[in-house]
Symmetry: C2
Subunit: 295 residues, 2 copies
């Protein structure tokens, strides 16, 4: 494998700034890699889109990132992972020699299975993700919980999944979330069924949600473990790159990062800088090429 | 003990918004308690003040919080803890029946000793805190590291402490930290000696610093554990209240919180709301009564 292939960037995308929570974890573990992040803010939020729409969006973005040289794609968005990951994987495989593509749902499900002692697991996610049942499937695939627990919701033996659709939460975060009483009341309403179900682990099913982890932790209390996708995705990315000999040689160097955005550039830069705690530098506005995708 | 005593608030103070990182941990673990937080923003930063000044400030604030009914005081500030904790404790004990007062340095030192495998521990703190040697003393008092390590810096057997004074870091955070290149360069300069010393654990010696934990973690890498005071302080607070039968009976209820501030109220409210991820409600401007304190 030529070293020029190793030096290509890792492509990461989300509907907005939420995927930056995944990019952050990747930057901590793989500082020597280059990254190209795309925020599809013109079509935010993804949580109320149909599976067919999300598959089309994901395919367009994948084309864009691969054309820009990405050596691996990370779908840093729960809704897009739930709707489009298998299709995207099949599409890239059919292209021949295509890049790997990784999602955020299986890694979070595995972390949640490991973290839960009671088997009572909560999920906060977009309506699209909850409707897909992707987390219940991933929890079942992640294997049985040692602690036992009550089977329910098709989540496999030993796990009782309480899923809450949160239509307003990603939009609140994407808007820069003023923490007023209205926002707190909205979030408290989403959290209430998880408290009633006495879950001991909560999956943050949208990559936006880690940005309000302090508020969620306060509402859920010390005894509840919050699980996000970031750390799990890092391990999957490391494995996928190593398997194809695509890891850069020097991970102690400081790689470059670039940002593409389909919507307002200044809004993305302001919010992204604040959430990622680093200057984003130039954010480039891009227009995606529409694709025909089977529903 | 009358239940009215249990229902008094816990008093927490800092030079600014940094102590809100400690308040957050207290709210997660003790949601049923009432809190009164004072930010001495008129005299921020504390990191460049003399020990005598900090002892005077701490005594004035303690008087204020006790007059407001506080049943326990938490010095949620590294600089004030380093300079004033023993004096404050002696002063309150001399008052007779005075409230307990807890600081943030010993809890963080204990967490760092537990977290470090190599014994090479880093410290980022204000000039006042580094000059006090309080963390080196607390690490020594926290007992030997199982892993061994090289004795140095008076930190006791088994620990090699690399301390970095960060005069600009708390002010950057208190100003709402625009994450521009200048800020990143400043922080990278503080972190460089810790990377050179190959520490595996870094104590965030100011309660402001957890607010930039993502940036620090990215600069230090996945293998370095960041230790802040919050979690350790919670355990100390629970123990201190239980010992005096001062814990409220119902910790599942939602307690009240109030904020006092010696400087600009609107700036405190804006920054505090953003960092604490909850509406602060009314922030009351207060003027402290100067006290004579022996140097």
């Amino acid at each position: 494998m030529a070293s020029t292939n190793r030096e290509r960037p890792i492509g990461v995308f989300d509907s907005g700034v939420g995927g930056l929570t995944v990019l952050h974890e990747l930057l901590v573990s793989l500082p020597g890699e280059d990254f190209l992040y795309l925020g599809d803010t013109a079509r935010f939020p993804y949580g109320d889109k149909t599976p067919a729409q999300l598959r089309a969006y994901a395919a367009e973005i994948a084309e864009h990132l691969l054309a820009a040289g990405a050596k691996l794609l990370v779908v840093a968005c729960g809704s897009a992972t739930a709707a489009a990951l298998p299709h995207l994987r099949a599409r890239l495989a059919a292209d021949g020699g295509g890049a790997d593509v990784l999602g955020v749902i299986a890694p979070a499900a595995e972390l949640a299975r490991d973290a839960s002692r009671s088997g009572r697991i909560g999920l906060l996610a977009t309506p699209a993700t909850v409707a897909s049942g992707a987390f219940a499937d991933a929890l079942a695939a992640a294997g049985g919980s040692e602690a036992g627990g009550v089977p329910a919701n098709g989540a496999g033996p030993g796990v009782e999944l309480t899923a809450v659709a949160c239509p307003d939460l990603a939009p609140i975060i994407q808007s820069g979330f003023p923490f007023d009483e209205r926002v707190v009341d909205t979030v408290r309403r989403y959290v209430a069924p998880l408290r009633d179900a006495q879950v001991d682990t909560v999956i943050l099913g949208s990559t936006h949600y880690p940005l309000v982890a302090p508020m969620l932790q306060r509402m859920l209390g010390r005894g509840v473990t919050l699980v996000s996708s970031g750390a799990g995705v890092v391990r999957a990315v490391e494995r996928a790159l190593a398997a194809r000999d695509l890891l850069r040689d020097d991970q102690t160097a400081e790689g470059a990062y670039r940002f593409h955005c389909t919507g307002d550039v200044e809004a993305f830069r302001a919010l992204g800088t604040r959430f990622l705690q680093m200057p984003l530098g130039d954010v480039e506005h891009v227009t995606l090429t529409p694709l025909e995708v089977a529903a």
